[in-house]
Amino acid sequence: MVMVTNVTSFGRSGVADWLVQRVSAVILGVYFVGLLGYLVLNPELDFDRWQALFSTTWMRIASLAALIALCAHAWIGMWTVSTDYITTALMGSKANILRFVFQLACVVLIFIYLIWGIQILWGN
């Protein structure tokens, strides 16, 4: 059996990407549902309590885990979408350049999110 690998895929293997996408999805799902639930249950939230929440170690760890999961999840998702729709079969040879530029833009945005997120969590 020949395993097809791709230089731009996250784990260099479809099975690895498949698993990372699901594990990161569960982390993100739990985090966002938890945060949304907290906001819904605390309608009279003030700055002190909001800041206190994000200065606890467990919340920083959870937020960092979600941030890292987001980076991996977003890359695999954007990679899948770009390799499915920005193809030479659909738009000719310019697709290769277009796809590279799109993927580069995604990497830059993911990097910005990661650095910005860490700054938010530990900068204040």
């Binding site: 699901r22 909001w50 938010i120």
Partner: protein, 158 residues
């Protein structure tokens, strides 16, 4: 036409929107000289019957791309709200304006849809609802529950 239907059904079961595009891509990139080269393909979406599971699957992708950009708004609001007491009040003021509210609602809507469609995806990964009927029912449940969740989010924001 029968073959196309069968392919569509295959695409549904695997929860992929347009699985039958793969041979095209393979053919174009690998430049293989084989029998497969002469197979007729139909990628004209206007002539294809797009089943509901294909629609929900495509929306899952669209919402994914959308919230990837929308994270910028969420991080910006989080950064500002945690920066200082004034920043927190500033965010509250922004959230009182219609445009910020609509923008936030759209990102939250994207998140909720992506989450619900994702949960369905994980359930299908476990082998539940992989039949043609199960795929349609799952897609209907995704549409219904995400519509309710998005409306509730709107009620909560306003």
């Amino acid at each position: 036409m029968r073959e196309i239907r069968a392919l569509q059904a295959g695409g549904q079961a695997a929860n992929l929107p347009f699985q039958f595009t793969n041979p095209t891509r393979f053919r174009a990139s690998a430049k293989l000289k084989s029998v497969k080269d002469n197979r007729p393909i139909n990628l004209d979406f206007t002539t294809l019957r797009i089943p509901l599971p294909a629609v929900t699957s495509f929306l899952h992708r669209v919402s994914g791309v959308f919230i990837f950009a929308g994270i910028a708004l969420l991080l910006w609001l989080l950064a500002e709200s945690l920066s200082s007491e004034e920043g927190f009040l500033q965010v509250q003021q922004w959230l009182d304006t219609l445009w910020v509210k609509l923008l936030l609602w759209s990102v939250v809507a994207g998140l909720l849809y992506h989450l619900i469609a994702g949960i369905k995806h994980l359930i299908m990964d476990m082998g539940i609802g992989e039949t043609l009927e199960g795929g349609v029912l799952g897609a209907q449940l995704v549409i219904a529950s995400s519509a309710i969740a998005i409306i509730l989010a709107g009620v909560w924001l306003w």
